[in-house]
Structures are given as C-alpha cells and as structure tokens.
C-alpha cells in the first residue's frame, strides 16, 4: 500500500480526465472514489459476473480486474454516459420495455455488454446473444427478458439508423 501513485490521463465518457492511481487500484475503484460513478460495481471480484463492466476503447472489460494504470491514454465509457438528457439509449429503453431486470444490480453490466454486442452485430440471433452475454450473471435470472430486450434494442437501433 506504500507504493507510489502515478498520474494517468484518459477520456471518460467523452471528457479528458486525470487520475492519481496506485498500482493495485482497479478501474471500479477509481471510477467510484475519484469520479463518483457507481454504475460499474464490484460483485464477485473475479471477473466472472460482469457487474463491473465498462467499455475501454470500445471493448467491454471487467472493471474489477482491469488495473486503473492501464487506462492511461484510453477512452472509457460507463453506463452513466449512455442516456442523453431526457432520452435513454435504445438498449436502456428496451430493457425497461421488456422488464429485463429485477433487483437491477447487474443491469448496467448487461446494458453495456448488449450495447457492445449490437455495435459488433446489428441483428444478432439467439445463439449470438447467449454466447455474448454468457459472462454476465443475473441472480434474479431475468435472462429470457434480457434476451428479448437485446432483440428489441436491435430493432430499435436499426429503425433509428434508417429513420
């Protein structure tokens, strides 16, 4: 705990930021303690549940394992940035319309993973959805609703981009 802090620069939800981080600090910790962002939250602490998911340079990572020092120069997106004022992201809208959560603790992780999936594959089939979301856990087990939400979000996004 005595090791020296290092200053890093990165882009957080579109804005340039700096942070003083120690070698053992993970991404979740830095987001919570230095930027007051709690959408990414630790649960299993082993990178197995997906509650801590954030996008680093467009790639979903487990914020509980990903060391904060590696963010230097990167672009980080958290769930807090998805909604514009008064307007939710189509994925968030779809999660609400499909009732794709119960307690909501894992929801930010699922929303970000779904977002990343749809960036890659605009119209995923059932198997692609299940494979992509296999690393996220929901103890309330709203999985059927989540699958529906991803399909609805795909339709919304496609409609949005053409209209």
């Amino acid at each position: 705990m005595t090791s020296a802090a290092r200053t890093i620069n990165f882009t957080l939800n579109g804005r340039p930021v700096t942070a003083d981080v120690k070698p053992h600090h993970n991404v979740v910790e830095i987001l919570q303690t230095q930027f007051a962002l709690f959408g990414a939250r630790e649960s299993c602490g082993q990178g197995l549940c997906g509650c801590c998911t954030v996008l680093v340079d467009g790639r979903p990572v487990s914020g509980c394992l990903y060391l904060a020092v590696f963010l230097d120069g990167a672009s980080v997106v958290t769930v807090e940035s998805l909604a514009a004022p008064g307007k939710l992201d189509p994925v968030q809208e779809a999660f609400i319309e499909c009732g794709a959560f119960q307690c909501g603790y894992c929801t930010p992780g699922f929303v970000l993973m779904s977002k990343a999936l749809l960036e890659q594959t605009a119209d995923p089939d059932d198997e692609q959805i299940r494979d992509y979301l296999a690393g996220n856990l929901c103890r309330c087990a709203a999985y059927p609703e989540i699958e529906n939400a991803v399909k609805l979000a795909a339709r919304k996004s496609t409609a949005g981009s053409t209209g």
Binding site: S43, Q46, V79, E80, F101, C106, T107, R139, P144
Partner: protein, 766 residues
Amino acid sequence: MANLNTTAAQAGHQVGRSLPRLEAREKVTGRAEYTHLMQLPGMLHAKIFRSTVAHGRIKSVDVSEARKVAGVYGVYTCDDVRTVIPDPYYGPAFHDQPILALGKVHYVGEPVAVVLAADPHIADQAVQQIVAEYDELPAVFDEVEAADNKVLVHDELKPAGTFADLKHLKGRKGTNIALDFRLRRGDIDKAFASAAHVFEHTFRTQKVLHMALEPYASIADYRDDGVTIHSGAQGPSFVRTEIARLLGWPENRVRVKVPYLGGGYGGKLYIKMEALAVALSMLARRPVKVALTMEEQFYTITKHPSTFRIKSGLDKDGKIVARKCEVWWNGGAYADVGPRVTQKSGFTASGPYDIDNVSIDSYALYTNLTPAGALRGFGIPQLVWAYESHTDMIARALKRDPLDFRKQNLLREGRPQATGTILKDAAIEKVLDRIAERLNWSQPFDRGTGVVRRGRGFAVALKAVISPTTSVAIVNIAGDGSATLYCGTVDMGQGSDTAMAQMVGEVLDMPAESVRVVPRDTDVTPYDMGTLGSRSLFHMGHAVRLAAEDARDKIAALRHELGEPAGSNAPLGDLFRKKYGMQAGNIVGTGTYKPDYIPPDASGLTTNATPFWMVAGSGVELEVDIETGHVRITRLINVADVGRAINPRIVETQLSGASIMQLGFSMFEKMHIDGGQITNASLADYKIPGIHDVPPAMENITVDTTQENGPFGAKGVGELATFGVSPAIANAIDDAVGVRLTELPLTAESVLRALRAKDNQPLGEE
C-alpha cells in the same frame, strides 16, 4: 399472461396493469442506490478476521502487529465490543449469535476480529497480521448426527422470547435441537398396520447459497443521541427493534434506512451485519461500513441442508392412508430463523394430499457450519423435493400413472389439511391439470433411443404462508392532490414498490406512476414484519389498501364539508385550496393489517394455520445422455395460483426467475465442505445459472383464480416457482432412464453413477 398494457397511464384500473417498474429508469442508468455502493463523510471500512477452525475455544487473538500497520484506525475483538454492548448476542429466534466470537468459535469463517481503516486495502492488509490460537473441540456437521447430541455446538440454548412457543427451551442444556415441531393427526400406527402397501424413502438436500450479487453491506453512524443505519436489509423494522434492544434504547433513537437491494432471496432478513457496524461505530466514533466480499457471503448465511425420511401407507385401491414425515434441518452454528423454517414448513411436510393419518416430526439442529436461514421458500423446496419424489416413486412402483395417482389422493377445496385447517382458495387441482395439459400428459411421449433418452415429469406443492404477521402503511395526500405512500416493504427486485403504487392508484383513481413510494426509512415508514415468505403483497397490500381507503374516505368527508355536490369530481388540489385558502394541508390515511391465526396445539393441529395457501407446480421435459449422465432440460413449465395478478408481467418474471434459481439448486449448486471448511467459496468454484442454463422452452402460467380474502383478490408470488422444480426434474430423469436420485444436486456424475449401478457396473469412488 397476455395483458401487457404498458401505455395506459390513465386513472382507473391500476390493478392488473403490466406497468414497468417505477424505478426502472434508475436501474438501467446505473443510478439506483444500493448500500454496498454508499459512502458517508468520515467513513471507515471494516475488514473481518475469521475463524479457521469449526469448533474451538479461543486461546488468544494477537492483534498487536495489525495495530502497527500504517493507516489502521483500530483493531477490535469481542472484548472491545463488550465495553459498549455488554451482552452482545443477537438473533430473531434465539439470542445466540455474538457480534464477534466470544470465548468459542462455532464454525469456519465466524468473525473473530475486525480492522478499521479509511482505506479498505490497508484494513485488508492488517487483517493478515492477526494471529489467533484455538483449543480445537470435536465438531459435528451432519444434521442427523447432530440429533444424537454426542457433540454439542452450544453449552446452553438461548431463545429470544420473540416467539412465545420457544420460551420453554430457555436454558436447556445437552442438546443440539433448537426446536422440534410435531404434528399428530389420526392414528398413524393403526393405519400403517392395516395398509396394503408401505413405502419408505430418505431424501437429502445440499448446502447452497443465496449469492445476491450485491453482497451484505451495512453502514452505521452512531451519535450519543441516536444511531442511523444504512443497510441492505429485508426487514428494517426488525433491525430497529433488535439494535434498540442491544443498546437498551427506545426504538425511536434507531433509524434504519434501506435503499434498493441488489438481491435478497431471504438472506438479508432479520439482522446480519447491522449489529457489528453499530458496535464498531460506537467504538470508533465514526461512521463504519461493513461491506462483505462475494467470498464472505459463504460465511454469513445459507439455505438449510436437510434429511427427510418419509413413509407412506396405502390401501389396496391406492389411497394414501398414512404418512410419516421426519425432517432434520441443518441449521448451522446459529439459529437465525431456522426454528421458524422448521415449524412453519412442518405444517405442510406431508404434501398437498388428503391423508387421514399423519405424523410429522421436524427438527432444527445446530451444527458447526455457516448458519442457515430462509432462502426463497422457507424450507418448502426441501420438503417438496422429498414428498413429490416419494409420491412419484410410489406411483411407479404400483404401475400407476403419476397424474392419476396424485389426483386420487389430492387435497381438495373444503377438506382439512394435515393441521386441520380447511383448504380454501388453493387451486391444487387446477395447477396440476394445467401442467398435465401443457405436457400433453395423456399423449404418448417419444423417450428416444441410443445414447440420448428423453423423459418428462412434474410436481405440485402446497405452502402455508407464515402467520401471524403485521403490516402498517400510510398514504399521504399533499395540497396539490398528489399521493405519497410510506410502507416498509423492501423492494429487492420483486417489484413491490410498483405493485403497492398500483393498489394506491386503484383506490384513489389515479395513475400508479404518479404515486410516490418513499424509500424505506424507519423514521418515517411505519412497522412491517419483514419482506419475506411471499407475505408482502397480501399483508402489506391489505395495509396499503386500507390506508388508501382511509384517505379516500377523508377526501369524501372534505368534499362534504366544503359543500361539494354529490358525485362531484373537483380536482383534489381545488379542495385543499378551498379549505386552506392556498395549496396547503394534508390528508393522511393509515392502514394496519394482521390476519387471524390460531397457534398449533400440542399435537400441531390448528383450525387456522395460515391466511392464505400458496400453490404451484412445475413440469419438465429433458434429455439424458446415458454415456455421460449429462441432463439437458429442454422444457420447463411453471404453473402457479397467484390469485389475481396485480402486475402480470412482474408476476411472470418472478415465476421465471424463481424457477431458474431453483434449477441451479437442483442441477449443480453445492457448497463443498471438507472438515467444516468450505472448499469452493467463490463464484469461480460455485456455479450459478447463466444465460446458457435457461431451458430453450419455458412457460410461466397463472391459473385463473381469485384469493377471496386477498387485496384485490391477490396473494404472494415470490417463492412459488421454486417449489416443484427439483422433484419434477428427478421424476423426469426416472422417466427417461429408470434411475432414481434421492440427493441434490442432480449432477451428471450422480446420474452416471446411478446408471452404472443399475447395470451392475458401479463406478468406483474417487
């Protein structure tokens, strides 16, 4: 489940709408509040040093090196705790659990000492410097062995007095039995003596975990004139009462605030980290947060492992004339609510059948394991696992169709259940018929050939909801006519805030979305017994309905007082302006609900065991690979009697989620324990259901019923779809390959071992 009308925001008919959850927006944007994520100014983090032995006297706890770590605020043991709380024992049924281990440790993982620091990493590091020495004592882990009382977990029993029927156990020594519930109906010996067929089987369930993704967390901020506790708690009123008792304070100096819960499932009931957080805040004079890691949840509370020996006698026509049930509940080192699980589930241990002669013995046992409490079913899933496997085995042994055999013996409306309470509004037959219809039970079924064999099975269950319990609610109408609901039901994902708002909207003729539901805060939200056992929609639902009706009556009186013509629907805000000359004033409606109840007599009999019966069942189709033992569930059907659904879509999600959770408990979840040590205490080694574990075809169905004494015809839902899943799967495995498993979980290994044993080629032990 068709009514998914999510757009109708107009007033009227709020009950029955599939309104999205009121807090949906907060949850999808990551803004919903959870205790585990909360920070207070000046807050210290607590990290716990835990016992490494299952049973032992504490010789010494050396904290000197830990205290030297730079940045450590303090290190505390129970000796320190006793300087601020002299009698540091807590618990809902027994005051048996010390805030930190006192004199002895009773299980591996029991909290022994705590380090406080502003930086949790420093606290963690300092915990590694603590050294404890123990005189190890013999330990007992199995619930049936514990009943022999050869190894004693506690020197003396300490019932809390909260439950009158446990008072006689006070001061009892020489036993591990925290409670024995007995029920005697008819003449069991005579019935067995004259029975044409007798069947006896023993079933076991394993130790499994709630594993809420938000681990346990409590923050206490102690001041000389009061303490505020932020906690992920399912029962804020109980926490307040218990902390007030520990401090010797009146309740109004203890404030418990509960935001949303990141899952509860029964784990966050009663009192968990709250007492420790309060004691530490008293010692440190700072706010203290006790927030556990995922691993530490394995050392906090679990489901009860159980052993159930069940014996049935039948007459020559296949009518069950006698059933004897002996259930041993492995309660772990502290009673928590185990005695309640033992008694309340005991009421229905003989199942949803009409049997004249019943004998039930249900034992709550102490063992040297992590304590066990309520987990989505209050013991019912363990019982259904046994009695619906047993019932199926009897049908198969007698070459009877399992559906036909059950229907011959089913408990029907108007008949006395084992306790003597008359069955009412319990759609057992409707549920069973619907499962059979969805499974096409009367039609031939392709059981496959070669390596992959197919089978189908089902199970049906009955539960008496816990009674008697009290709920209180307040509905407050502001000067502009807007309504606010104060109720202590904790929304841990089941959608209670939304359902309660719908009930308020229904009574006051306003959109449910416009009703504000105040987050739970014992300074403002009135008493509620707890969010548990599927009781809230019924009990709190009634209290909310009564409070809204009280407000509605007061509004009518105000209209009358102001000389409004009969039938006037002048906006509420206009009434207040007319009355007070400006936008001012309040109308406060209150409601209290407590159902009637008659405690069981010495024979376990009562004519009023429960305000409502819970009924549900499941049907399963599956494939078994006979070379590997791998089971693939291809279809899962859950059918439940929920009365009238307040919010059909949330009901459906509850049924679906509960059944998938139970699928995990049925197929693979298990805490592996070696000499009292949990060897898989992490999410890496303890698998829970993921998206690939969801059966490809799932149906969640509610039968068309009304709970006559329920609020708007409704009753509880949360636990229902857990009941039938495990035995339905085991019954389907038997149907597919002719082997019978009697112990959960139903792993590929256990299926393969059974297949090989059946072929007289048993696999060797590992």
